[in-house]
Symmetry: C2
């Protein structure tokens, strides 16, 4: 935890917060803080700064906080992601939040197993929890937006063309395509398929909607690795 | 498993292999192969090609293999990595093998906990097993070399200057340094610190040995994410 994130309801006064639960435990057991110590803090969706521990016991901590610093800029990136296997999904949410992805659209695809959509990790509270872990790591306060689209065809046909207007729209797919570009500065929409890849029909549909297929070389990456590798190359 | 990797001892004749254990289980349970099916295969350290399943039962499989295709080129990269937390270490080995790292040097650092060096994951057989998982994913046959250096100072002072000769030597470190370069074509030595980073003394020693500190922006990445992000940007 490189940043202690504060919820609205933690505030007992404009510059005063009271914490318990996971964050208190982390302060006591990992950071081993004491009264008088300063911690990096940030208000979720807001500014960052520091907090002085003014009271501390086994039940709660009180901090006096000063928030003056804006969070780092988000990447101008919407990630269109075929719904990953649940265990990997949690880690990908964390990676995306850490790397600064602005928006994630979870999409169905032929090779997404139906059971993936049943995972409790898709509950809004669990998505939020994993995104917060990623923000704590990166020192950011702004949650990526997450949108769930369980029907590929109507989403791609009816909504995607408007969504990608004004962006460079790329679909990552192995094959005889141009290499993924580097160091883009404008807005990007990036589509990443499931393990095993998009099926040709899906690549065709995405191409028809305005996406350019791009590839990363002959090595086949796990989705989790591909997400980080593609984002790092694009920005 | 995108590639079935063959050990020397699997061969019963120049083009014939007999398999059991994990690979047989994977063929039966995940790939659900039958006699007559063709699989992508590769000999560890050698060529890739395809194998026809010519006999199959619950105990063993026999394949007739034709190996003609060279594995993908390795990245011209030596990764100097502060020994990571064991659980993350396994995944990093897999990522490195998948991404095509040629050589990994595991190095001590002030912020590496002593207990990390006690992990059974450092046993040569376990390192090899995790590298093979990464190669299977990428479709590669050549194991990265792994070297263990438990003493920072003598290694950096006495061996590193020779090791980095003819390479671009970079140490990833947050701070007021140039951005990590992109799309290098020559040989690179890249040093990545532990969670919490190198200490200033270590950055000074690496700089004195010929490393240029470079940074990736203000977001703090987990080591696992940093490995993939840096490699993807460099090549």
């Amino acid at each position: 935890m490189n940043l202690l994130l504060l919820e609205e309801q933690d505030f007992t006064a404009p510059q005063r917060v009271r914490l318990s639960g996971r964050r208190l435990q982390h302060m006591l057991e990992i950071q081993q803080v004491a009264v008088g110590d300063y911690l990096r803090v940030g208000e979720i969706g807001g500014l960052m700064g520091e907090g002085e521990v003014v009271a501390l016991d086994a039940q709660q901590a009180e901090l006096q906080v000063t928030l003056t610093q804006p969070p780092p800029a988000k990447l101008p990136l919407t990630l269109l992601l075929a719904m990953p296997r649940p265990k990997m999904f949690r880690r990908i949410l964390q990676h995306c939040a850490t790397l600064g992805v602005a928006e994630i659209v979870l999409l169905n695809s032929y090779r997404v197993e139906k059971s993936f959509w049943q995972t409790p990790f898709l509950q809004p509270a669990v998505i939020r929890e994993n995104l917060l872990l990623g923000l704590e790591q990166a020192r950011d306060t702004v949650l990526p937006r997450v949108r769930i689209e369980k029907r590929f065809k109507p989403f791609v046909e009816d909504h995607l063309p408007a969504l990608i207007t004004g962006t460079t729209a790329l679909v990552a797919h192995p094959g005889d395509f141009p290499c993924c570009p580097r160091a883009l500065t404008g807005r990007v929409t990036l589509a990443i398929g499931p393990e095993g890849g998009w099926i040709p029909y899906e690549v065709d549909k995405l191409s028809a909607a305005g996406f350019q297929p791009v590839q990363l070389g002959e090595r086949i990456l796990r989705v989790e690795t591909a997400v980080t590798a593609l984002i790092s190359r694009l920005f």
